[in-house]
Symmetry: C2
Subunit: 360 residues, 2 copies
C-alpha cells in the first residue's frame, strides 16, 4: 500500500492506494471517530462492495442510502434525500459519512457532508478509475444545476481517501476509458514524462495490468495533491486541472447529464483545447495529433457531438466558473506538459475551433 | 457611525452601525469589488429600501430577486430560485450578493453565496433588530429542513455588515420585540451589566429611542463578535449564543415555520432554559422571575404553546446540532450573566420543565 498526503495544514489528509485495502479493519477505523456512520452508494456499487465496507463498521450505529447510478443523480434532489435520511435517523453532527462509489457519489456526498448541520466529517472510498485519480482528491464537492455542471458546491476536504485498486476489476470498459481521460490530462498539464510513459504503456492499462494501474493512479494523485496543496480554493494554479473541462461541461450540460460520461466529455474537450492552442500558435500540429491519438487509443471519443453548434457551446460556456466579469476563460496548452490560463480567449479563434475541429 | 470588527484572521470583517448609513455612497462601494451584483430581498423590505440600495450601485451590472416574506421561505426551494436566477443571468464567481432584509434573508443569502460556484462574496444589510444584533454577524448561514431548523448550512463570513438603525423605524412592533429576545440573551449569557441596563431602559427601546437602540445594537454586536472571534465554527464557547434555541427551534419546527417569529420562540425557550437551570439548583427563583419579567415587558410570549407536549418536544430536540452521540445537550444558566453547556441534561428534570413550566 502507498500513502500520499494532501498537505493543507489542519485540513491535511492521507490518500491510501493499494489492492484489497478495503479488507483492512484498521484503515477505516483510524479515521472514524464517531459512533454513527452513514454509507452512501449507488445501485451498481452496492451489490459489489457495500457488505465489504459494512464489515469494517461493526460496533457502529450504521445507516445506508443507495441511490440510482448516473450523473443525473448528482443533483440537489439527491442531496435532499440524504439530508432527509440523516434527520429521520437523528444522526448528529459528530457522525461520519462515507462516499462509496464513483465521482458522482463522491461529489454529492462531499457536498452533503459540507452542508449537513454546517459540516460533518466524511471519507472517500472511490471505486472508479476517474474517482481514484481525480474527483475523490482535493475537496471540490458539488451537485449539478440544470443550467450548469457543479454550479452548487463547496470546498470541503475528506478525512481520508481509500483507493482500493482491486475495485477496478469490476469496472465497465467504458468507465475505465473515462478515467484514463483524466490520467492523460495530468501528463498534458504538468508531467511530460508521465505523458510519455502513458504513450508507452496504454495497452497495459487497458488490459488492467495491476502494476501499471497502481502506478498511473499514484502518479495522478501525486500530481493532483501537489496542485491542490498550492491552491486549495482555486484562486490561480488549480484551474489547470480543468483542461478540457470548459468544453466538456458544455457537452455534458448541452447533451443532458449522462449522455456522455464525464471523462468522455473531457476527452473531447481536451482535443478542442489542443486545437485552439494550435490556432493560438502554441501547440504544433504534431503535438495535437499525439494528444488526439493517445485519447483515441484509450477508446475515448475525440470528436464533438454534431448536435451542439458553436452558438449553443458559447451560450453554455458563458456560465463557466473560471469566467471573470463576462470574459470567457479556459485552460489551454503551451506545450505537452505545460498548461496555461490566458486572461481571455480570442472569440474568433474559439469559434473557429468550435466550427471546424472534428466537423466535416 | 460606529465600526466594530469581527476578528477572524483573513476572514475578518467590519460591522458598521449608524443611522442613515445606507445613504453613504462610499461604504458599500468599499466592499464591492466586482462589476456584477445581485440584491436579494423580500416583498416587505423591497418597497422600503431596495431603491435606496440600488442607488448605491450605479455603474454596476445589477440583478435582484424579491422573495415572499417569512420563515417558511428559508428553504432549499428559495435557494434554488436564487441559483436559477444567478445562472440565467450568467453571473460569475467574482460577483457579489447582497442580503437586504431580516434574518431569513440573511441566512438564506449567506448559504446561497457559500454554495454558488463553491463560494462568492456577500454583504449583509440587516433591516430588522434581530438581524442587526444577531443573525447578520458571525457567518452562520443555513436553510431549514422540514425536520429541523438550520439543518442545511455553512459557516461562511460576509465581506461586511451594514446595520442602518433608521431601518428600524419601519419595523413592526412584533418584529422589534422579537429582536429584543436576542438582545436580552446577550445580557443573560455573558453581560450582567448589560442585562441591568436593559432592565432600566427597556421602555426606551420599545419607544424606539434612537440613542438607546444604537447602544443596544452596538453592545449586542460587541458581545457576539467577541464570542465568534474565539470560536468561529462552534467547537465550544460559541454554543452559548444558543441559549433558549434548543427549546425555541423545537417550537418553530413543531408549530410550523412562521407560526412564531424566531425571537418569540427563543423568548419562550429562554424561560424554559431558566426553569430547567433552577431545577438543577443553579438559578434561584428570583432570577427566573427577573428573566421572565423582562421578556414579558418586552412584549414577548413567555409560556409554551399548549399544542406541543413533552414527548413531541423531546422528539424534535433529538435532532439539535449540539447533541453528541445521542446525548441531549443545551445551553443553561449558572446565573444571570453566565451561561454553560453541560455534557448531558438529566432527562427527568427536562421532562419536568416541559410538563410544568408555564402549564396549568
Amino acid at each position: 500500500m502507498k500513502t500520499l498526503t494532501v498537505n493543507l495544514g489542519e485540513r491535511s489528509y492521507p490518500i491510501y492506494i493499494g489492492s484489497r485495502i478495503l479488507e483492512s479493519d484498521e484503515l477505516l477505523a483510524r479515521h472514524l471517530t464517531s459512533s454513527q456512520v452513514m454509507v452512501i452508494t449507488n445501485e451498481t456499487v452496492a451489490p459489489l462492495y457495500l457488505e465489504r465496507v459494512k464489515q469494517r463498521l461493526t460496533g457502529k450505529e450504521t445507516a445506508e442510502v443507495i441511490l440510482p447510478d448516473g450523473e443525473s443523480y448528482k443533483s440537489i434532489e439527491s442531496a435532499m434525500i440524504i439530508f432527509d435520511r440523516l434527520l429521520a435517523g437523528k444522526i448528529s453532527r459528530d457522525a461520519s459519512l462515507i462516499a462509496l462509489g464513483g465521482g458522482v457519489i463522491g461529489d454529492l456526498v462531499g457536498f452533503t457532508a459540507a452542508c449537513y448541520q454546517r459540516g460533518v466529517p466524511f471519507i472517500q472510498i472511490p471505486t472508479t478509475l476517474l474517482a481514484q485519480v481525480d474527483s475523490s482528491v482535493g475537496g471540490k464537492t458539488a451537485v449539478n444545476h440544470p443550467r450548469g455542471k457543479n454550479m452548487i458546491g463547496a470546498f470541503y476536504q475528506p478525512q481520508c481517501v481509500l483507493a482500493d485498486t482491486s475495485t477496478l476489476d469490476t469496472l465497465a470498459d467504458r468507465e475505465l476509458s473515462a478515467g484514463l481521460a483524466e490520467v492523460i490530462k495530468y501528463g498534458l498539464i504538468r508531467d511530460l514524462e508521465f505523458f510519455e510513459w502513458l504513450e508507452a504503456n496504454l495497452e497495459r492499462l487497458l488490459a488492467r495490468d495491476a502494476e501499471a494501474l497502481a502506478y498511473a493512479i499514484e502518479r495522478s494523485c501525486l500530481n493532483k495533491a501537489e496542485v491542490v496543496a498550492e491552491d486549495e480554493r482555486e484562486s490561480g494554479l488549480r484551474a489547470i486541472l480543468n483542461l478540457g473541462h470548459t468544453f466538456g461541461h458544455a457537452i455534458e450540460t448541452g447533451m443532458g447529464y449522462g449522455t456522455y460520461l464525464h471523462g468522455e466529455a473531457v476527452a473531447i474537450g481536451i482535443c478542442q483545447a489542443a486545437d485552439l492552442s494550435r490556432r493560438l500558435g502554441w501547440l504544433d500540429a504534431d503535438s495535437v495529433e499525439r494528444i488526439v491519438s493517445l485519447l483515441a487509443r484509450a477508446r475515448l471519443p475525440v470528436t464533438p457531438p454534431t448536435d451542439l453548434d458553436a452558438d449553443r457551446y458559447l451560450d453554455l460556456m458563458a456560465v463557466d466558473k473560471k469566467n471573470v466579469a463576462g470574459k470567457l476563460r479556459m485552460i489551454l496548452l503551451e506545450r505537452i506538459g505545460r498548461a496555461t490560463l490566458p486572461m481571455a480567449v480570442d472569440p474568433e479563434l474559439l469559434r473557429a475551433t468550435l466550427n471546424e475541429y472534428g466537423r466535416r
